[in-house]
């Protein structure tokens, strides 16, 4: 029996030595960034960046692009120019140009979810202008690490301070398919020297339909229950003459939603509690208890006005990133079944009651 087992093992080793699915690292070019831009007749401009080693061992990003119908076709076409097999296993970001995002992005994500080798945690972003131009600038950014690494760090940091939403391919799909819930993605632009995060791109289904700036994205995050640490410059003309501002660092926030569903459109009431620190206060007089109370009131009023602006933008874009539709579906299913949420959503009135608590104001009054 032992001989038979040994023979069997030997046979298996012989059969397994082919290693059909082996991937030799030296023969692979890892795609780190992907860009997708709209082209006429349903075509796309598919661009990728890969790190390539230069003489002396310094990695240098390399940008390639091709016009195709699908991302996988694009990858195979670019493979014809490559020294190694192109693999997406280390993909960090997928950028969509504005025009492409307006056309709809879902179809171009299919391959990333279907193929288990692809990481579904890669970040999706919308870039101002085209993704190709974004990467064209990115590969020339001086004094910065490779674009994939730099952008990863940039986005991680921006997520931590709530300036952009924390989304990836998997969460985009979940939000896209969930009834009464819409996805949002980070919005970013490139300059000659670096990238700048701009806030959030609002999506109606899979189409880019509006945007929020970084402060608005943070406040939206509070409503969504995403914790963050965010600085907000608050106009303080009521505290001192001139167009002065004070800076509040929000370190905590939570929101309570009350949803009234009647015969007509539902009504949403948010009670928002923000806690923060007064980081900058240049009014020329000390912070007393009375002043602090005024600071809190002014900050709360500013946040409330911002919330009203955010709500107007969400209604205009007919984008429901807060999942009000999902909540109506869950708790008022009869209403949900009788109404078309896309038609109801822009008619929803929302009011915001904001309370701000300043925990401290540093070591000087």
């Amino acid at each position: 029996m032992k001989h038979a087992c040994a023979l069997m093992l030997l046979l298996l080793l012989c059969m397994a030595c082919g290693c059909w699915d082996q991937r030799v690292v030296e023969r692979i070019e890892y795609i780190v960034n992907v860009g997708v831009d709209a082209r006429p007749n349903g075509q796309i401009l598919y661009s990728i960046t890969t790190p390539s080693l230069q003489a002396g061992g310094q990695p240098k990003p390399r940008l390639r692009a091709t016009v195709v119908s699908t991302p996988r076709e694009g990858r195979e076409k670019l493979f014809l120019q490559s020294t190694g097999r192109l693999q997406s296993g280390k993909l960090e970001q997928i950028a969509f140009g504005e025009a492409m995002a307006r056309r709809g992005i879902l179809d171009y994500l299919d391959v990333l979810v279907r193929d288990p080798i692809n990481p579904v945690l890669a970040r999706l972003v919308v870039v101002k202008g085209t993704a190709f131009d974004f990467y064209k600038k990115a590969v020339k950014w001086p004094q910065l690490p490779l674009p994939g690494i730099y952008l990863s760090r940039l986005f991680d940091q921006a997520v931590e301070n709530g300036s952009i939403p924390n989304t990836n391919i998997s969460s985009f799909f979940t939000r896209y398919y969930a009834p009464g819930l819409d996805p949002i993605l980070p919005l970013v632009k490139a300059t000659k020297t670096r990238a700048i995060v701009l806030g959030a791109a609002l999506f109606r289904d899979d189409k880019y339909a509006g945007e929020l700036d970084v402060d608005e994205t943070y406040l939206l995050g509070v409503l969504r229950g995403d914790p963050a640490d965010h600085l907000l410059a608050v106009p303080a003309s009521r505290l001192a003459r001139g167009k002065r501002k004070m800076v509040v660092r929000f370190i905590g926030g939570r929101a309570k939603l009350k949803l009234e569903v009647g015969r007509d459109a539902p009504r949403a009431s948010y009670e928002v509690s923000l806690t923060g620190l007064l980081e900058e206060f240049q009014m020329g007089y000390p912070v007393t208890e009375k002043v602090l109370a005024r600071v809190e009131r002014i900050t709360a009023g500013h946040a409330r006005r911002m919330y009203e602006g955010i709500w107007a933008k969400l209604r205009r874009a007919n984008c429901d990133p807060l999942g009000l539709g999902d909540k109506v579906r869950a708790r008022h299913n009869d209403y949900w079944l009788k109404h078309d949420w896309r038609e109801v959503y822009p008619r929803i009135e929302a009011d915001f009651r904001v309370k701000v608590e300043i925990l401290n104001y540093g070591v000087i009054r």
Binding site: A16, D21, L121, S170, A178, G323, K327, R329, R331
Partner: protein, 358 residues
């Protein structure tokens, strides 16, 4: 003889053997089938089918306990040698079908995730070989190896806890909104996620004591794990996205990330791999034990070699993934409702009417 196959197992080993048989492969497509017609309330169905397995175990225990033997012996005692052997051969064929289906699914999971270019025959040979080794050593060794399933369950719980922040519990509401007709229609599609308990019909005489309690514990643990997992999957992906997934479990692990090592999916599958092998292995061993009882004159390992060769030959043509899924529907229904519940109940009834006892 040290090398003689050992089959006597303790109640604890029976529990882990049955959990492995049910959970290792059955869990993969379960949430998708559950939400296909019932939507977000599909997890109720998973729970309901879980309760049915309790019924199955009670019937099997009543039957095998009455005779203190396997169903193969019961067949001959109740129906006589000729008809009894015919029923035994039918049972052997059914177990063989379930074994082939489990191996086919096992191979497909590995093909889809890891070995997409590697020839089917090579993947099949590599995956079947360790299971054959366990089967050659006997039920006891296999049951000991099956303890790995507890680690797999812990990994699953850990994964759900790690991803729980991303779950949206409103996806599960309204809690009681489903159609009863859809409930009944969909039930059959979930059976593959629960088959495995019916192996008690064959392994019963090898359990030292309290086989019934151990089997109930096994189906209880399985029902709890798969229901929790289905609830979590719906809350994590939402019903609409779950429907679109072939194996929600594999997509769930793809969303996990850890510092430095980044993707955790490979590690999770590495942990789950023994559970998958155990699931297919449990069927192979049960089929082998049934074959040994039907053909007592053939040596154990010769019979095993013939069985493995037949399984290998039967698996080879099933290279298409969608065919495996169809196969799981048929064999799952046959395994759970016919072999696990209906047939033992009929045999018990026949034995009671004829007044036959062990």
């Amino acid at each position: 003889m040290a090398d003689t196959p050992q089959h006597n197992i303790s109640p604890g080993q029976l529990t882990v053997f049955l959990i492995s048989a049910q959970l290792g492969l059955g869990i993969f497509g379960l949430p998708r089938h559950a939400v296909e017609r019932l939507g977000h309330a599909g997890w109720w169905l998973v729970l309901a089918v879980g309760f049915l397995t309790f019924l199955g175990v009670m019937i099997v225990t009543a039957l095998c306990g009455r005779f203190q033997s396997s169903i193969l012996t019961v067949h001959r005692r109740v129906f006589g040698t000729f008809i009894g052997t015919a029923f035994n051969l039918l049972l052997l064929a059914a177990l063989f079908g379930l074994t082939v289906t489990h191996f086919a699914l096992y191979i497909q999971v590995m093909k889809v995730f890891f070995f997409r270019i590697t020839p089917f025959t090579v993947v099949a040979a590599i995956l079947i070989a360790p299971v054959v080794y366990l089967a050659a050593k006997g039920l006891k060794t296999a049951a000991r190896f099956d303890t790995f399933v507890y680690i797999a369950i812990l990994a699953l719980i850990g994964m759900m806890l790690a991803a729980s922040r991303e779950a949206s519990w409103t996806f599960l509401q309204p809690l009681l909104s489903f159609k009863t007709t859809a409930f009944l229609q969909t039930m059959f599609r979930l059976t593959f996620g629960f088959v495995g308990f019916e192996l008690l019909l064959v392994v019963y005489p090898w359990v030292r004591e309290k086989a019934g309690r151990a089997a109930l514990a096994a189906v209880g643990i399985t029902a709890l794990v798969v229901t929790t997992y289905t609830v979590f999957t719906i809350a994590f992906f939402g019903e609409e996205f779950v429907i679109k997934q072939v194996f929600p479990l594999l997509n769930l692990v793809r969303t996990l990330q850890a510092p430095v090592i980044e993707r955790l999916d490979i590690y999770f599958i590495m942990i789950w791999l023994p559970a998958m092998g155990s699931s297919a292995g449990a069927y192979l061993i049960a089929t082998q034990l049934a074959a040994v009882e039907i053909f007592p004159r053939l040596p154990y390992r010769i019979l095993l070699a013939i069985l493995v060769a037949l399984v290998f030959l039967a698996v080879l043509p099933i290279t298409r993934f969608d065919r495996v899924l169809v196969l799981t529907n048929y064999t799952g229904t046959a395994g759970m409702f016919v072999i696990g519940i209906l047939w033992p109940a009929l045999v018990w009834l026949a034995a009671a009417l004829r007044g036959v006892r062990g």
